[in-house]
Amino acid sequence: CISCPDPCGTSLCETRNGQTNCSHCEPITLELCMNLPYNYTSYPNYLGHRTQREASVSWESSLFPALVQTNCYKYLMFFACTILVPKCDPHTNQRIPPCRTLCVQSKERCESVLGIVGLQWPEDTDCTQFPDENSENQTCLTPDEDVEECSPSHFKCRSGRCVLASRRCDGQADCEDDSDEDSCGCRERGLWECPLKKLCIKHTMICDGFPDCPDMMDEKNCSFCGKDELECVNHECVQRELWCDGQADCSDSSDEWDCVTLSKNMNSLMFLTVHRSAVDNHVCADEWQENLSQLACSQMGLGVSTEENPVIQLQQGGPFKTEIVLVDGEMQHQKWLNLHSDWKSKNVSTLHALLVNGQMCRSRSKVALLCTKEDCGHRPAARMNKR
């Protein structure tokens, strides 16, 4: 006893009731049959599949696309789809069968081809179950002249034969007239070509925040941000000063990613670095506490802080707001952040939201941490039995 489809409500079917009176029209989602002259189907189909998902992984869903490549019958794919995703009558919500002639001709022309490779025609396709074309009391489906002979997963050769779409432009001729290797540029195929690698992607994938080209060129030059702005991963522009302020300003929150990191210095100590306003800052150790170390480690996706004394005392200089350091041979001002004076009462979940700039670091110490990764992937040791 299984749940009826949504239009019937969510109550369980009564015993023996099965899915009677549950039939409804639903949009066709089966990739193989997306180019039919109808868009709605009704389940179960004529092969006994209860859902389109079940149909999509069925033996028949593999069989028919393979068989159609043999060019055994022009309307084989149309027939296959009328039994995999039967047309739904919007008035009665009932499925409309293929006509018997279509079934008979498909079987007559293609069954023998299957026999050559030792396979059998699907058992559930007994053509006598389908009505005759001239039947007065039942409608049935026949192909129009202009029906698509190939499924969306296939490429139609100039000769009319269907070959797998994945074999188009693969450098090897699969159509007898080599037409599957013609016009192989992305543009000719309605796709966009990654500039450096000859990879074709859909136009909808350009500037959508997910890199698809190996060099990420599909996500470049997607926005024109002002001088004081930075580009979010989804290509919105956000004020530089709002970067890593503890509040998500990009709608994908990317201005708040990777705000807290650890940077090595020459002694291999890991200094805590906060990327406030798109500039890396050290963190002054004034008032630093153990729970802040734990928060920092956790924010970096690392387990717990293992450093008992995470504060590094600097040797020279007085209380400072900036420190001059050598970066790639150039003198640069290294900025500092301090804990907010009332950080303990602030209700925030990130470390960087507790920090402010422009204050003196009285202790002249910066925070350094050692975080350990949480344990993973270990199975308990096998138990030993004395024999």
Partner: protein
């Protein structure tokens, strides 16, 4: 799992069962952190409401709950925004539990690979689950050893679908060991140096596993999704409270 064997209890401590009433076990899932679980997006088709789900850990026999079992409710379900049900691409989702699990020898997280860490063809890995065995649904967790297959070779088995870089194939041409209905969302793990087990795949789709057409199983390629997983966990932990 087809062609597998019953697992010793506790052997796969990251395996969990995604359950919903009245059916009980619907899909497998994998513990990756104290409050986070991975599974596939198609498990939630028509059931995206977090309130109808619970996640069971530390269980071996679905019919006999043990004292090692832990159950958590689901706080939120994060489906991959590019998940496409028609072609079963980007089939991955993250589940946030309502509270942390207690780590025991029966309930432990698996390691995640890095973005660059790819499993090589011909590597032998393990799949686990309570899915169909070909002749019956098991009560006890099953395990099976499968071989990683290159995407090119895998494409040759599946005429009707495109095998994308978001997918990983594993199994055998003859389909002797394969995942099956009910294993979805469960782990494909490979042993790494120092005896660490790393999650490279999540059971996603394949041919009808006990039909005449066999071939390998197709798994969501976890390495491909690492950055997305990390960002989502960060956003939901630190930015959404």
């Amino acid at each position: 799992i087809l062609g597998g064997r019953t697992s010793r209890p506790g052997r796969w401590p990251w395996q969990c069962s995604l359950q919903s009433e009245p059916s009980g076990h619907i899909c497998g899932c994998v513990l990756i952190a104290k409050r986070w679980v991975l599974t596939v997006a198609h498990c939630f088709e028509g059931r995206e409401n977090a309130a109808v789900w619970k996640v069971v850990f530390g269980i071996s026999n679905l019919d006999h709950p043990s004292s090692f079992m832990q159950t958590r409710l689901v706080k939120s379900i994060i489906l991959h925004p590019r998940y496409n049900r028609a072609v079963v691409d980007y089939d991955i989702s993250i589940v946030q539990l309502d509270e942390d699990i207690n780590e025991t020898s029966y309930v432990r997280p698996v390691c995640l690979p890095s973005k660059e860490q790819l499993v090589q063809p011909d590597t032998y890995c393990y799949i686990t689950g309570w899915g169909h065995m070909g002749n019956k649904m098991p009560f006890k967790l099953q395990e099976g050893e499968v071989r990683i297959i290159s995407l090119e070779q895998c494409q040759s088995y599946f005429d009707m679908k495109t095998i994308t870089s978001r997918m990983l194939c594993a199994g055998y041409e003859s389909g002797t060991v394969d995942s099956c209905m009910g294993d979805s969302g469960g782990p494909l793990v490979c042993e790494q140096p120092a005896g660490r087990w790393t999650l490279f795949g999540l059971t996603s789709w394949g041919s009808v596993c006990f039909s005449k057409v066999l071939g390998p199983g197709v798994y969501s390629n976890v390495s491909h999704f690492i950055e997305w997983i990390e960002k989502q966990i960060y956003i939901h932990t630190f930015l959404m409270n």
